[in-house]
């Protein structure tokens, strides 16, 4: 019997090897490599291919789900990736911990396409605009299915409505989950006040039985597939999800929300700095930013791309390009090691509650 099993195994291995052998084409770059670390579903893959063709650089592209996962990976070894796309507060943390390096803007001429106001906003986490170049920005809000929700959705409180038990998707990310609970209570999303955070913890624990699942990128597919009625989601998904399922609508609650910018940074340990600069420059190109925007539908800070959006509805869309002056928004700040630890411990309480 054992002899036979072995022959089976070997045969499987060989067949599989053959199958795969035909499928893979080696496209090793002649101009070296580039390790890119970006959010999941956050780029048009054609753009990567186009970059490889134009520059001869081989891109190794990995994806992360949350800023925290990204940080844990880089903290192990900052040379693991060359160019990364974290959010505002995490850029501040990376900068303060000396894990990213200043950019040489001379090598990134296309940076001129990025709207000046986005650099102004960036100053909250990158005071001298030395380390980061904006890639996408947006808000956090509620995506709901009009056929499954009868109430008016305009407040975070609906995520605590028992009517929707088992129909709610929460973000499986510390800061986003706490932002919802803190703002609902009228607190700042950057609070370090222990009793305010504890109140938010209690609310999140009270909400837990109503939550179907804590997910991140899956919110999109689950909402499209009508697995859930309400989900906390980033504004960039609104256009895409509405296109796939017209019953879905994105709302920014009246209590206010978080506004975020994800920006490109180059790691301290990067072994391919030049290629990383080329990558950022490429991403800032008007045509590329537009192509990317049309695919991922996250708001682009690229004025060149904004100008050339063909679809007038999207060009003037309040969802894709919200007027922030009409909303109560705030950006996350890095809360320091103690702040991070406090939130991490409290979040663990929520996640391990019954």
């Amino acid at each position: 019997m054992k002899k036979r099993l072995l022959s089976v195994v070997l045969a499987v291995a060989m067949t599989a090897g053959l199958l795969i052998g035909c499928g893979s084409s080696s496209s090793a770059g002649s101009n070296g490599k580039l390790y890119v670390y970006n959010w999941g579903e956050y780029i048009d893959e054609d753009v990567i291919r186009q970059f490889e063709e134009e520059t001869g650089i081989k891109v190794i592209y990995d994806m992360f789900e949350t800023n925290e996962i990204m940080y844990a990976k880089l903290a192990q070894d900052t040379s693991a990736y060359d160019v990364v796309c974290p959010s505002d507060y995490m850029i501040q943390k990376l900068r303060e911990n000396d894990m990213i390096q200043p950019l040489n803007f001379d090598n990134i001429p296309n940076v001129k396409n990025i709207g000046q106001q986005y650099f102004e906003t960036s100053k909250s986490f990158d005071p001298e605009n030395k380390y980061s170049i904006p890639y996408c920005w947006g808000t956090v809000g509620i995506l709901y299915n009009k056929t499954m929700v009868d109430d008016v959705v305009d407040s975070w409180n609906i995520l605590w409505d028992e009517k929707y038990s088992g129909q709610i998707l929460m973000q499986d990310s510390v800061r986003d989950a706490y932002m919802v609970a803190l703002i609902k209570n009228g607190y700042s999303q950057n609070t370090k006040n222990a009793s305010e955070i504890e109140k938010a913890t209690a609310d999140l624990i009270a909400q837990k039985p109503l939550v179907q699942a804590y997910v991140i990128d899956q919110v999109r597919d689950k909402m499209i597939g009508e697995e859930a009625a309400l989900g906390v989601i980033y504004s960039g998904e609104a256009i895409y999800t509405a296109r796939e399922n017209p019953d879905l609508e994105y709302v920014v609650p009246k209590e206010g929300t978080n506004v975020w910018i994800d920006s490109w940074v180059i790691t301290k340990g990067s072994k391919n700095v030049e290629n990383a600069e080329k990558w950022i420059d490429f991403m800032c190109r008007g045509d590329i930013a537009l192509k990317n925007f049309e695919y991922i539908t996250y708001s682009t800070p690229n004025t060149e791309a904004q100008k050339n959006i063909e679809d007038e509805d999207i060009k003037n869309s309040k969802v894709a390009f919200p007027d922030l002056s009409t909303m109560k928004v705030e950006a996350y700040q890095y809360l320091g090691e103690d702040g991070d630890k406090l939130y991490a411990d409290e979040w663990m309480k929520v996640k391990s509650a019954n």
Partner: protein, 258 residues
């Protein structure tokens, strides 16, 4: 009557084991992305799968790590088992005690401990670190299946061969090794299976831009399951099953040979 219930029980368990897999295979032909709706028959997920370089390289990575780890761990494991014959029983049981650790220990602890080691030694994680990790957890499977064979080995034939003028190596290969082969084979087989199936240890010892099938699927699942993955599981399952059938249904002379 008893026979009937026995068959029924076997049947129910087989359905439990295989019905989910069959469902996946059916879904892999569903042109609708939704799992709840049948949108017609299609091969497009298979075509997409074959043009997907990420899956192809994950497959190659998985197989090459499994094959290399199996070969290396089988050699080291067997060699060590033979060497241990001459050691004092105390030392032998000490070695076996240590060898048992990765088998008994939780994968998550093994994975983390190796990650800490590689980090400490500043070895950048990737193919090499996964391979080292897999060899480490495979050696025990080899040793544990070779050792019982060594216990039953007949040394008199070996001694006789030496008396008749054979060199030790020749005598070993001719007299003792054949006894060991079944143990070595089943150990290698276990090692290969464990290596193919491993997720947790690989997850902690892999580096940037390097995926095996397990880690690739885990990432995909977190982003929402794409039907290509159904196609992938269908292929893996069918290949394993068909080969098994072929071996078992081959001319009965083969089964008598045993």
């Amino acid at each position: 009557m008893k026979k009937f219930f026995e068959r029924l029980y076997l049947g129910i368990l087989l359905v439990f084991m295989y019905a989910p897999i069959v469902t996946l295979i059916v879904l892999s032909f569903n042109s609708s992305k939704s799992r709840a709706r049948w949108g017609g028959f299609t091969f497009k997920w298979y075509l997409q799968l074959f043009s997907d370089e990420a899956v192809a390289s994950a497959m190659i990575n998985t197989l090459s790590i499994a094959v290399l780890a199996t070969i290396i761990s089988t050699i080291i494991g067997t060699f060590t088992c033979i060497a241990m014959i001459g050691l004092s029983p105390k030392l032998r049981s000490l070695i076996m005690g240590v060898t048992n650790i990765p088998m008994i220990n939780a994968d998550i602890v093994t994975g983390i401990s190796l990650m800490l080691l590689f980090r400490f030694l500043h070895i950048s994680t990737g193919f090499n670190t996964i391979l080292l990790a897999h060899i480490t957890f495979n050696i025990p499977f080899v040793m544990l299946s070779v050792i019982p064979r060594i216990k039953n080995m007949n040394f008199y034939v070996y001694e006789a061969a030496l008396d008749l003028g054979a060199t030790p190596v020749y005598a070993f290969v001719k007299t003792l090794l054949p006894d060991l082969v079944p143990g070595i084979v089943s150990g290698a087989l276990m090692a290969f299976t464990m290596s193919l199936d491993d997720f947790i240890i690989t997850y902690f010892t892999k580096g940037s831009g390097f995926e095996t099938l397990s880690t690739l699927i885990y990432n995909e699942v977190k982003r929402g399951i794409q039907p290509e993955i159904y196609a992938l599981s269908a292929i893996i399952f069918v290949v394993v099953l068909v080969l098994l059938m072929v071996v078992y249904r081959s001319p009965s002379s083969k089964s008598k040979e045993k």
